[in-house]
Amino acid sequence: MRIVKHKIPSIDGRGIMMGRPAYTDDLADPNALIVKILRSPHAFAKIVSIDTSKAMELEGVELILTHHDVPRKSFTRAGQGYPEPSPHDKFILDEYVRYVGDEVACVAAISERMAKKALSLIEVKYEVFEPVLDFEKAYEHPSVIHPEEGIYEMFPIGFEPKKNVAASYQMEVGNIEEVLKSCDVVIEESFYTQAQAHAMMEPHTVNARIDFQNRLVIYSSTQTPFHVRRILSQTLDVPLSRIRVIKPRVGGGFGGKQALHGEMFVSMVTLKTGKPSKINFTRKEVFESTYTRHPMRLDMKLGAMKDGTLKAIDCYVLSDTGAYGEHALTVFMVTGSKVLPLYNKVDAVRFKGRIVYSNHVSAGAYRGYGAIQGNFALESAIDMLCAKLKMDPILFRQKNMILEGQTSPIFEIMGEGTEGTAMIMETCKLDFCVKRGMELIGWNDKYPRVELGNSKVKAVGMAIAMQGSGIPYIDMGAATIKLNDDGFYNLMVGATDIGQGSDTILAQIAAEELMTTVDKVIVYSSDSDLTPFDTGAYASSTTYVSGNAVLKAANLMKNMLLEEAARALKVDIDDIEFDGITFQTENQQITLSALSNRLTYNEDQKQLTATGSYVGTKSPPPFMAGYIEIDVDKETGELDIINYVSVVDCGTPINLKLAQGQVEGAIVQGLGMARFEDVKYSSKGSLISNGFLNYKIPTTKDIHKLTTEFAESYEKSGPFGAKSVGEIGIDTPPAALANAVYNAVGVRITELPITPEKILKGILEQKQKEIHS
């Protein structure tokens, strides 16, 4: 391959670093009204009265919206396939407020100062209720978070709002109770994961205007422009044909922008005033009032035989969706479906639980999407089982893990909100990843620990992971390629580059098939008026689903070119050789440039365009093995991450450097969750960790060394052999770190993040036990 699997620089990095206008707010109308949101100071309350008269008297205040002024129509902010598997439990503005930071009113004014002043003049009286701040007590709590009428599920998802249940699910293969009884060894443990923040560098932002055709034009920093258009239309009763959603450059998403957060407000302001408007979330609002990862409690029970054969996995999960049920069921199901098949030879597996409401910030999509939570619990539990069996954790995994050519019944049983799709692992290089990672980390020299003296100890730990590549039969991507005079192409995709580099890798796929270079493929993403449909950037679908659509479009375009060349040269199509530049027969030739000019200006004039669409019939998982090396100080519990080794099977990496960037960026986000990112709420339910000062994300000083390699792998159903690579990297760090800490000091941390305090507490408790025994 000439273009694919090479180190091509991203097509946009230079212009962005040079400061070209690119992001949503760079493109806002300079005269846009500034939209600000009045947010709830209470975790759970009902608005008894709201008086906006003093605020409206301010000069420069154009509009104030309260729950009296907006359509009473429930919807979900989640940007997902339609009908959504998330309950419709949100109103644009409601008489109830369900977390500290929930929307109370919306102000539009001519300046930021005026808008802020107006917020302070709105008088609200609340009836304050007892909030549900502990999700383990949410089920059938006397405080019902969604008591209102008019909310519903789109299809059965176990929605029971009167019990504070957003969704529930259960499945079982084999008879779990009986198999567990027959096991030689059984371990049982509960694990807790926290509400990690996405912390993308660009805060949420969206602006709106009405154009000269009287249409609503939205510029949004979104992962899902087409879902934004649909949800706006459905909720605001504006015809779909009257809405245009443009996705400019997006400054990071990670799932946090797979939802509507400001879109409703700027749309309503602009529709009501006729004037352009914009909203820029403050960093505090991003933390307090957008999305988090779903916090979970995972109760694991594993059973095995003395020879190290894993027989049973029983998993009960309680997930906290916060105030609204966005992505509640689907994240929960991925916790099982993209984790449990790793050990496909068990006799019985059970996965059940519920997703409950609480009066915390709403949880939503976040890279890993449940798999990181499930991976932390299962891969920690596997090491606990190995300790009890006195068996090497790598040997145990090699004996029990999924391999190429195998399958798991879970693929067919569990999809995302619905049933799944049966599939066989056509590519699974997990065995290679495990072996290679062992070499790269120096496992045999360092496992389980090396005493360094001065109370320091070095240790290693590991975990394996899988993810998916899009959602079969649901996620659709499409691409259109247009030929221009002089012989270059436009590639128009609905696929959403949010910084992961999809514009570049999709250009590479087109260029490879058209045998040209990346600079001859001009990419445009995404604009609901101009680009074909794509579900958006989520579920690790862009390379596999949208990439396949691009490949189909490019192949169609190539055939069209050959037909036109045959016509121009008056020969049979089979007599032409095309190398991307020149069409050659035995004794004549025409260049692509000349052919394109001929088609534009001279003879047989026509515009050539080709559109390809793709919807997956399976979701080939990428796999990886993650190994961590740490140094721990036994006196203080302090730990230093020395090296993180990732060996990844993502099929063909379309762009080696960008794929490596996806893995390493995800590893460091995963390490953030594993090690640093502590979420703290006050006793009244307000988020304390609501800025970078009190919510620490990894900095350049926290990362010493990342070692990343790709397994040789070719997935036949993917474009040029590719699977996905966007999420897989985030899954292993929590379990790998927990396992390494155990190997270092014998302390098993079951609650993230793994802080020095928790490690030291464990060490001290051990010492206490030793004294008493």
Binding site: R283, E664, T700
Partner: protein, 150 residues
């Protein structure tokens, strides 16, 4: 109030309110390369050069800039384009939202510290947060860029 300063080598006069921050003044005057990441001096996105030193424009009052030199990437285009090639080669640019601020910080680092150690580089750029890259590719690009300046 009137504030006068040199913006990218040219003398400019701006009418601002006393509580206005430089980030706002610049964006209101079409310097959209300077962007807001956190509005509380914690992320490095809004970095500009104040008399050649990196500062955070989101918490720098415009009034304080009076009589000084402010440089944004518009003022060092050739230099930043040069840096961007190293980032491209290493695959270090993802969403790019932090890259403008980082490029300006690197520009300052290069002239401020000769032959910096790895630790000195990391200390200098630690305030430029990035959530995409995991820092490894960035660091490789920065090392190569600085190495080639010798």
């Amino acid at each position: 109030m009137k504030v006068q300063f040199t913006l990218n080598g040219r003398n400019r006069i701006f009418e601002v309110s006393p509580d206005e921050y430089l980030l706002e003044t610049l964006r209101n005057n079409h310097i959209t390369s300077v962007r807001n990441g956190c509005d509380e001096s914690t992320c490095g996105v809004c970095t500009v050069l104040f008399d050649s030193k990196p500062v955070l424009s989101c918490t720098m009052l415009t009034a304080r800039v009076d009589g000084h030199h402010i440089t944004t990437v518009e003022g060092v285009q050739n230099e930043v384009e040069h840096i961007s090639h190293y980032f491209g080669d290493e695959g270090a640019d993802q969403c790019g939202f932090c890259n403008v601020g980082l490029a300006l910080t690197l520009h300052a680092l290069k002239s401020e510290i000769k032959d910096p150690t790895d630790e000195e580089i990391k200390t200098y750029i630690v305030g430029n947060l990035c959530r995409c890259s995991g820092y490894q590719a960035q660091f490789r690009a920065i090392k190569r860029f600085l190495g080639d300046q010798k």
